[in-house]
Amino acid sequence: MKSPLESLPLFHIGPVPITQAVVTTWAIMALLVIGAFLLTRKLDRVPGKRQAALELMVSTLDIQIRETTGARPVPYRGFIGTLFLFILAANWSSLVPGLEPPTAQLETDAALAMLVFLSVIWFGVRDRGVQGYLKSFAAPNPVMIPLNILESVTRTFSMFVRLFGNVMSGVFIIGIVASLAGLLVPIPLMALELLTGLVQAYIFAVLAMVFIAAAVEHDAHHLTNRAPEGLVPPGEEPESSPTEKDS
């Protein structure tokens, strides 16, 4: 049986081995970029069907960001939305026969979690400055500094193991069942795997948003408290206070 922890190279470009996950990732990236470019080429003030569907997606994303963290969605919309769409497309790419989702490989998930780790630092530094961000590690008191540093590493690690474990175990189980009993038996498991892929993409995006919001939390409070001064149109007021979640 093939080990799920290692991946075999398909071909080599010079000395660099290229695995199937990398090729699938490139295909998904190309699909998302070209699709986004084509869909947003002609935007109108009075939206047609296509633009209305896109606006529905963006506003749903905004509502989710606002309800989970209470932060203003504008700075985070691009990053969180891209994370969600990419992971969703990657998880569901197993619908194409013969493809294995790239998120079932350790490297893809490690790269995604590393992106979240770096973006937490980036947003934290951008909102508080380097000193303010470093000071946030000593948050309740300086005794907590090692624990806070450890936490920021382990939560990234747990994000990446969570995504990898869920997607990989689905692929693994479907493989075992398909090798035991042939034609139609794995189909319910595949349907379950689609649901898992959706939930995991959602959870990855929500957790990334929660971590980022924790890094800029001071600022988010500040802005939501002062929101009625014309920053947020009436009727879009966030009523939920920022949730205190932690892993």
Partner: protein, 81 residues
């Protein structure tokens, strides 16, 4: 068959078996509490189910860790290399 591979297979089995116990109990309690809350307050079901999903993912991570440990024991065991 040497004892190291036997021990690692047994270790993998016990890791998955006992590692699934705790999260199963915890997820049952979490879902029961969420059902209770939705029954009391159906209008808050959106918030409750969203928080429930995130919480379930957190709980499930414990079981996933055990699965990863089991796979490490079976496929990437440094002692058997």
């Amino acid at each position: 068959m040497d004892y190291l591979s036997l021990a690692s297979i047994l270790g993998a089995v016990f890791a998955v078996a006992f590692g699934a116990l705790g999260p199963a109990l915890a997820e049952g309690r979490a879902v029961a509490a969420a059902m209770d809350a939705i029954a009391r307050q159906p209008e808050a079901s959106n918030t409750i189910s969203r928080t429930l999903f995130v919480g379930l993912a957190m709980i499930e991570t414990t079981a996933i860790y055990c699965l990863v440990i089991a796979l490490l024991l079976l496929f990437a065991n440094p002692l058997l290399a």
